[in-house]
Symmetry: C2
Subunit: 304 residues, 2 copies
């Protein structure tokens, strides 16, 4: 039950109140792939330059992520982003965005990817997301992420794209922008009517709300003693969510709400681990036992 993940692989520079890292492995597809690999086999589609370090592809390979779809552009440089977080970590300011080879990313799926049942489309241009979906022939569940820029400047493209999706993962401000409603119930109903029957609205430290058909489910945010670096937490959430569903072999059609609820909790679990170290570092040592331990902690903290 392999999952195809499409999106950015990048180098990031971050500054948080806990320290500064000038250059580390990042990018949405990196986080999603590493995280989902705890639950299901993953096949990555992305582009990097020839500056992409062997140790970074080795990390992905060590988690059995298939790199057949990782294009390397000779003479090109990998996407670079840097930013600085506010003291409370709730805001971040972008210092630099060098798209580099990512500017011309036009994802082509290897033949060995096209019959896989699961697809997670990271935040890229909506028409490209649609092009990827069209290359897949036997999907059981597909969906993805987007961002404010596509919502405001590529709205028509985006609407055509998400109309084909089974699920959409966005944060609360994006949900408001996309739907026109600040009220979460009204926002959710409006967005579900655009296509995705399953919608997860992420609320940062406050957790996430799952809407599926007419039902809803609340997942709290995990209270960490120390948030080291929130970079990638939303992508890790996505990786836990779709990774769990793929691992369980869930089909979008007739998906069990109980399984979707567990998927959202696994998303929260993985987002919480992500914040414990800089960048992807927590996923260098994290074990499935730790994941399941925190899943049980979520149960203890929410059942009554």
């Amino acid at each position: 039950m392999s999952l195809v993940v499409v999106g950015s692989v990048a180098y990031d520079g971050v500054e948080t109140p806990h320290g500064t890292v000038d250059r580390m492995l990042g990018g949405a597809a990196t986080y999603i792939s590493l995280v989902a690999s705890y639950f299901t086999p993953v096949k990555l589609v992305a582009v990097v330059g020839d500056d992409f370090a062997d140790e970074d592809s080795a990390l992905l390979s060590s988690r059995q992520v298939d790199l057949a779809g990782l294009e390397r552009v000779a003479g090109g440089k990998t996407f670079f982003w840097s930013g600085v977080y506010s003291d409370d970590m709730n805001d971040r300011t972008t210092l630099r965005t060098d798209l580099n080879v990512f500017a011309d990313f036009d994802p082509k799926l290897p033949d060995s990817y096209r019959a896989e049942p699961y697809l997670l489309l990271g935040n890229i241009q909506p028409a490209l997301q649609r092009g990827v979906l069209a290359q897949m022939s036997q999907l059981k569940m597909a969906g993805g992420d987007t961002m404010n820029y596509w919502i405001s400047d590529y709205r028509e493209e985006l609407l055509k794209t998400i109309a084909q999706w089974d699920f959409l993962l966005i944060n609360d401000s994006e949900a408001q922008m996309l739907s026109g409603w600040r009220n979460l119930r009204k926002a959710a109903a409006t967005i579900q009517a655009m296509g995705p029957r399953t919608l997860v609205i992420k609320r940062g430290e406050y957790g996430a709300v799952l809407f599926h058909g007419g039902e809803q489910f609340f997942a709290p945010g995990y209270l960490l003693e120390e948030v080291f670096d929130p970079t990638g937490a939303g992508d890790s959430f996505a990786g836990g969510f779709i990774g769990y569903l793929a691992g369980q072999g869930i089909e979008a059609k007739g998906a069990d709400f109980a399984e979707l609820r567990r998927a959202v909790i696994y998303g929260s679990v993985m987002g919480s681990f992500c914040c414990e170290r800089f960048g992807v570092d927590r996923f260098r040592s994290l074990t499935r036992e730790e994941i399941d331990g925190r899943f049980r902690e979520f149960q203890t903290c929410t059942q009554f």
Copy 2:
């Protein structure tokens, strides 16, 4: 198992995006008493002027709230507050605060109140809160609320006061101010070390977190289709929380964490009903069946 409630009874003027009400029954002790009366007998301690309307005391009496401790100052006027909410209802600006008879409030408990087992101290001057507690002889559980003004300007008084409390209910910005920590786990540990073994940190629309000893529990915020007026929602939460515990006869010493969890959910339930109408209006018609129905809805929305 009567609950003694001490705090403000007031008239409020509010302006929300849904409309304007120039003068309506309000005050923390009003909300707490009305709400707690669904779970346990309530005895109110407060002060009003002779402008306090018969229909307003009749509403309290209709819910069997004991008004022996409601002092009426001849020739005095009842506390008046007015404010306007922002479009998203997350901020409010105070337009007017006329303390009137509340400025000289010095709560004296009728003899018939002093042997009751439960005490909820609404947000008043910390030394007055301590004076009330000293008048009670057989407490099983006592606690209350405070606000930023007492935390910043009456800190030593406040620390002496909450040192005697079993539980404290505050919102997240107050917890940060009181503890010096923005991180909720660190803030909670610091505040619990000040006295209250049970701490509820309210997070507005995002719900609340209960800390008890070393344990924690998350209660989500209920997603309303329409928030009419958030005035009194925090006080309604407090009324549901302590009302449920009093109704169940829970003692602070050895309190069962499962009961405290349910109390927090009843708090969230009552806070959510409060927002459905202006002021206390929802509590004119609300039934216990509706309350238990929403409690079950919270279960459905959080279990996995």
